[in-house]
């Protein structure tokens, strides 16, 4: 299985939301819905403060509970990769995947009644391109690639920089990393 990961550098993320808009135009995401979003986390008391911006989305987990718990098989892995997709034709909108996802609200209900989510822009990945959010980011703080290649930019970044994932304790083995 090819393991695609996204690596986001919180040191240079400015929380501008370009990733959100780029996703919306690239994927024609319906009005009012987003497949990705930005979180601002500020800690401390004025003037001793720290702010972290994080661009968040589906973690395309190596152990995706949304796939294992989907009753219809709509939630599935794309080809032989960790990219989690939902087949609209098979999806009944039962929301079992939403309950199964430890990362609240990774998944959104499309107005036509099926679950819509980040696809890591697999249509672009197939052409050797980065996801739209990564390629639009004005600070270039987002990186995309495969961990199978130890020389890839993402492998090197994770080797050389401190990093974290969200909720590692769930055992889902998420694939969106944050450099800290």
């Amino acid at each position: 299985m090819t393991r695609f990961v996204m690596v986001i550098d919180t040191r240079t993320c400015i929380g501008c939301g370009d990733c959100v808009v780029a996703c919306k135009t690239e994927n024609n995401v319906p009005e009012g819905l987003n497949r990705d979003w930005v979180v601002e986390a500020t800690s401390g008391t004025y003037p001793d403060l720290k702010t972290e911006f994080r661009s968040e989305r589906c973690n395309h987990c190596s152990n995706p509970t949304c796939v294992t718990l989907c009753p219809t098989g709509a939630s599935h892995l794309w080809k032989d990769t960790n990219i989690v997709l939902v087949e609209p034709e098979k999806c009944t909108g039962c929301k079992a995947c939403i309950a199964a996802c430890p990362y609240d609200a990774r998944l959104v209900m499309h107005p036509e009644g099926y679950i819509d989510k980040c696809t890591f822009c697999h249509h672009r990945v197939e052409e050797g391109l980065d996801p739209a959010c990564v390629s639009s980011c004005p600070t270039g703080c987002m990186y995309f690639g495969t961990l199978d290649d130890p020389h890839s930019e993402v492998s090197q970044l994770l080797k050389t920089r401190n990093h974290k994932v969200l909720k590692p304790e769930t055992g889902n083995e998420p694939n969106v990393y944050y450099l800290i």
Partner: protein
């Protein structure tokens, strides 16, 4: 009844179809993967802000899909910002102006009526001719912002008037550009000529790059962070760059000049300055050294709240990295009315560090030497813009919009007609709504050229709907940059509705005024092609590549030890300004303490948010989804004292009694307890901008204590004090 009432555009007497409120962003289940249809692309220059990034407009099966950056473009590095990526929303916005509108009286009430282009243009031409015949063409002024303003400047100059002003000067960059020009003989330019990508130390004073998304600035600052340059941010608010900084200096608002003088004191006392550079290029060092001796870090601490050891340490960081130190000139610089002097202080500190025209400091920008299309000479106007406000603001190098507005009030006012292009003056000129109404009531003609039904359109006699940047040609972008570079904006679509490109409107109006010889092109493409041919390109080539980069003809930086002449009277960098002294101003910056915050009030701080270019984009359906309203930042201690919680709405009252619209509270540690903060550009009252109308508050209407810079006319906006109005529903317009 006033001759000209402010008309809310909701009351348009429409002859057209009812506008559907449905947004056009929906997808559907059966839609194939993006990009599997017939995909075409064409070049553009983004108009979502004024940075002018070059991009590519993608269409799929003839429909607008997305806009991305052009990889060859220095302004964008191939990556558009949030607003640029949201560019499709400008084209798709269902609230766009559709048809020329004219002020008429129906049943004793003023309203707007849809008219044909010919009717609108004939009316305007007749009024303009009347002004020219009775008082002279110079009494017609252009107030403008953005690339398309050039078409109307050309029209007015052909008509015989050179009267024009951009709020980008006296409400934004003016003090900075004047301060740098007084010192170096040149301005900091746009795009700013900062060499941040190569800097080892960057100092930001109130400049929150990353919240304002000037793309090249954001990208080069990021590059510096990636290379571990030392970032020093001076801001009373924990801004985005403050959070990325090695040193955040939470300064007491309004005391920046004291800090700058303190830094100069350390740089000179500890001999951290570039002696060879100063000796070779500058004059007035001895006077400066004597002047700043009094501003010791210990003294500066008492004014700024920045500890002496921090002042010394940061000055040493600057000195250690020099000349690869950028003390950033900022961009929106109209703060306290002594802004030219603050900008002078920034320029002087850069001069001491030897960073001007040096690697890692500031580079020397270069444009393409492209001839303009040959046209007849303009008639010589009898008056310049400044003659409307004689004796004021001797160093105003451009028209002062607030000066033009004041010179348009009353029967004997200097100006009799306005053409307003692309600028929403009620939200742009601080606290000026009453003056705008008085001016509009006095003027014989107000024409507004706009894409959106902004508040300004409510003051117009005639509203001319311009199409968006995705539907028109404008002039070739030729800004000074690291490399000379040209970029093409071309139409990806036919103009929607009855909207028209600015060049077409100017040409048609010119022809109605008998000025045909100034508009010899049938299509603006003809003009652009001629100009491009002069530099070895062509419209055909540019339509394919969008951006063409040219080799530099002179070095990017000063060569080691080279001699140089500056565009100042002394031909040197003027640390001491005889020019200022001769006009009765301080020849070197002097610190004046800011007005203290009155008891029970908070300083109104304002800025930008990355999702929007102030009020220009707040109705954009894509960007509205990202940031539908602004929020009022309130320190937890203040929130506690006033019983305010995040998410609730309040109004603000200025000390002089102006009341704001409702704004949502955001309790956050990122602001100190002496200030509140909001992003500028919200609180729209024009009901025809249906998404943004009534969302958030407008800081500019709370600016009732404006201090005008006596040197260049800039409107200082940061000296305003506000308090909370307890009943959110009382007073003011929501």
């Amino acid at each position: 009844m006033k001759r000209r009432e402010f008309i809310k555009l909701s009351s348009v007497a429409s002859a057209g179809a009812v506008v559907s409120p449905t947004l056009m962003l929906g997808g559907c289940a059966s839609k194939p993967l993006p990009g599997t249809g017939a995909v075409t692309k064409s070049p553009t220059v983004c108009d979502m802000c004024f940075w002018k990034c070059a991009g590519e407009v993608y269409k799929e099966d003839g429909e607008l899909w997305k806009i991305t950056g052009n990889a060859d473009d220095l302004h964008s590095g191939g990556r558009l910002c949030t607003r640029g990526t949201g560019g499709p929303g400008a084209y798709l916005d269902p609230d766009r102006l559709r048809q020329p509108l004219m002020r008429v009286v129906v049943d004793g009430r003023q309203t707007f009526q849809e008219v044909s282009w010919d009717e609108a243009l004939q009316f305007i031409a007749a009024k303009m001719r009347g002004i020219a015949e009775t008082v002279g063409p110079e009494r017609m002024a252009l107030l403008h912002h953005g690339a398309g303003g050039h078409h109307f400047l050309h029209l007015l100059r052909a008509f015989g008037s050179d009267s024009h002003a951009e709020p980008a000067f006296a409400q934004c960059r003016g003090p900075r550009d004047v301060g740098f020009r007084l010192t170096f003989g040149e301005s900091a330019s746009s795009p700013e000529r900062t060499d941040m990508a190569n800097a080892r130390c960057i100092v930001l004073l109130g400049s929150h790059i990353g919240e304002n998304l000037h793309n090249g600035q954001v990208q080069t600052l990021t590059e510096a962070i990636n290379k571990d340059a030392t970032l020093i941010t001076v801001d009373p608010r924990f801004s985005v760059p403050a959070g990325k900084s090695k040193h955040w200096l939470p300064i007491k608002p309004g005391t920046d000049i004291a800090l700058l003088l303190g830094w100069m004191n350390v740089v000179i006392e500890e001999e951290l300055y570039d002696k060879d550079y100063v000796e070779r290029y500058a004059i007035g060092f001895e006077q400066l050294a004597a002047h700043v001796r009094q501003y010791t870090p210990e003294w500066v601490f008492l004014e700024t709240g920045i500890r002496p050891e921090v002042i010394r340490e940061t000055a040493r960081e600057m000195g250690k990295a020099a000349p690869a130190t950028v003390v950033h000139p900022g961009r929106h610089a109209t703060w306290y009315g002594d802004d030219t002097q603050r900008s002078r202080a920034i320029a002087i500190l850069n001069a001491l560090l030897g960073s001007w025209n040096r690697k890692g400091g500031f580079y020397i920008p270069e444009k393409v030497d492209m001839p303009h299309y040959p046209l007849p000479d303009y008639p010589k106007p009898k008056f310049k813009t400044g003659d409307a406000y004689p004796g004021k603001w001797p160093f105003a190098s451009q028209g002062v919009t607030n000066g033009v507005i004041e010179a348009s009030i009353g029967d004997d006012a200097f100006f009799k007609g306005w053409m307003v292009y692309g600028t929403n003056l009620p939200q742009t000129i601080p606290g000026a709504v009453d003056k705008l109404r008085a001016a509009a009531d006095s003027l014989d003609l107000v024409v507004v050229v706009e894409t959106m039904p902004s508040e300004m359109t409510g003051y117009a006699d005639v509203i001319l709907p311009e199409c968006t940047f995705l539907e028109r040609y404008d002039d070739i972008r030729n800004s000074g940059e690291r490399h000379p570079s040209l970029a093409l904006r071309m139409p990806a679509f036919e103009p929607k509705h009855e909207s028209k490109p600015g060049w077409w409107i100017a040409k048609q109006l010119g022809e109605h005024l008998g000025l045909k010889q100034y508009f010899p092109w049938n299509d603006y493409a003809d003009k652009l092609d001629w100009e491009l041919q002069q530099v070895g390109s062509s419209l055909e080539e540019m339509q394919k590549i969008g951006v063409k980069n040219f080799p530099r003809k002179r070095p990017l930086y000063f060569q080691e030890g080279q001699n140089a002449r500056f565009y100042t009277p002394s031909r040197k960098i003027e640390l001491y300004s005889q020019q200022l002294a001769d006009k009765g101003f301080d020849p070197m910056p002097v610190y004046t303490p800011p007005e203290p915050v009155p008891s029970g009030y908070y300083r109104l701080n304002y800025g930008r948010m990355p999702a929007h270019t102030f009020g220009k984009t707040t109705n954009n359906p894509l960007l509205f989804q990202l940031a539908p309203e602004n929020q009022l930042w309130v320190n937890p201690l203040v929130a506690n004292e006033h019983g305010l919680a995040s998410g609730e709405y309040v109004r603000l009252a200025s000390r002089e009694g102006a009341i704001s619209s409702k704004i949502r509270v955001r309790v956050t540690e990122r602001i100190g307890p002496d200030s509140v903060f909001m992003a500028h550009g919200f609180g729209h009252k024009s009901k025809r901008m249906r998404l943004t109308a009534g969302a958030g508050a407008d800081d500019s209407e709370l600016m009732t204590n404006v201090k005008v810079d006596p040197i260049m006319g800039g409107t200082g906006m940061r000296g305003n004090f506000v308090t909370f109005v307890r009943q959110p529903d009382a007073g003011g317009a929501a």
